[in-house]
Amino acid sequence: MIGFAVPGTSVLHRMRPGVKLALLAAAVTVLAVLRDPVQLAVALALSCALVPLAHLPLRQTARQVTPVLWLLAVAVPVHAWFGTWPDAAAMGLRILTAVTLAAVFTMTTKVEALLDTVQAALRRVPWIDAERVGLVLALTIRCVPLLAAIVREVIDARRARGVGGSLRAIAVPVIVRSLRTADAFGEALVARGYDD
């Protein structure tokens, strides 16, 4: 399935997604209370050590983390302006560490495995129909390429007709086609026996 997971057999790959998620949450909580830039630098180093440990390709991991670097390039100086440089450094390191850990989580966990975990957790919630939630999640994954294609077609058609920059000229046909698609899926689900 589409996603960022990199196949592998490391400890992190084999760990149950629920357990891994709990560890990630615990780590982020600890990060939130650490104040000392040195401690946070150590935390970042440890997090980065997970990348080779899980045999994750460096470039793909970097791609997960770089967007936040751009944000930090602005946020760290702003923080230093309002506070002190050590505090600003601590903040930058904290966010970078959290994002790195989350990237490692995402890259060692298959989407399917997480979906199963989410559904298993939801089954324990009495007022949630886990089967239907599962159906909606799966149907959405199925629909993303369809809707992405619809949006692309409409944007291209707008360009081809030379109707320059009207956002409405995109939104109206996209919504009409989305509603038709939803109708068709509703009908298909009923026809396939999913009829309540």
């Binding site: 399935m1 589409i2 159906l135 799966a138 149907l139 994954i141 199925r142 390429p145 369809l146 698609t181 068709a184 899926f185 009908e187 298909a188 689900l189 009923v190 026809a191 396939r192 026996g193 999913y194 009829d195």
Partner: protein, 226 residues
């Protein structure tokens, strides 16, 4: 054969009549439906499994009133739509076929065996773990067929199943349809596909204007379109 009966069926969307006073008894193995765009073919076909309800009259499948016993009827009547993209509801090929059996309460191994069997029949075994959106149009329609037939319905209703396909894929899907052991009710614009059907209905402006063996019915159809 399953017996499909229309008793004085009419349908209107708002105050626009779409079907008027249709009475039919369908019990042949191969039934074709032809007619111009907008003549009411899809409405007629959808009534067989209750996706559209008559505004007057009733439809019976093996004596079951479709309006009241829809779920039981849909167990007997499979439906294939024109656009497989709107019929495939799960991300991968195998998941989509398996989805149909979810509500059949089969033991897991039996369900898996039936899914494999259906994939095999439609030549999809090698594609089982592919994302559905990466299939070609023809493969998608074969997947839609596999996903319907895995439930082993007694009747298959197909609404222009080859209209969106190129000639080659239309032929492949057509051959699979022709080889089905099931009773088949098919709406189509591919008139050659109807040559060895048992019965062909011609729909025009919401009425059945011809109901005959293929040669005679298609003759009548050509007169209607002319």
């Amino acid at each position: 054969m399953t017996e499909i009966v229309f008793e004085h069926v009419a349908h209107r969307y708002g105050d626009v009549p779409v079907l008027e006073d249709v009475s039919l008894r369908l019990a042949e193995r191969r039934i074709g439906i032809v007619g111009a765009n907008g003549s009411g073919k899809s409405t007629l076909a959808r009534m067989v499994n209750g996706l559209v309800q008559p505004t007057s009259g009733r439809v019976l499948v093996d004596g079951l009133d479709v309006a009241r016993r829809g779920r039981e009827v849909r167990r007997r009547v499979g439906f294939v739509f024109t656009d497989p993209d709107n019929q495939i509801v799960m991300p991968t090929v195998r998941e989509d076929v398996a989805f149909t059996l979810r509500r059949h309460r089969l033991p897991a191994d039996q369900a898996a065996a039936r899914v494999d069997d259906a994939l095999e029949t439609f030549g999809l075994s090698d594609l089982a773990d592919r994302p559905a959106h990466k299939l070609s149009g023809g493969q998608k329609q074969l997947l839609a067929l596999a996903a319907v037939l895995v439930a082993r319905p007694a009747v298959l209703v197909a609404d222009e199943p080859t209209t969106l396909l190129d000639a080659r894929n239309a032929r492949i899907v057509g051959e699979h349809l022709a080889a089905l052991p099931q009773q088949l009710v098919m709406v189509t614009h591919h008139l050659d596909a109807l040559a060895d059907f048992d019965r062909v209905l011609v729909v025009d402006a919401g009425r059945i204007v011809a109901d005959d063996a293929p040669a005679a019915a298609l003759e009548a159809y050509r007169e209607v379109v002319a």
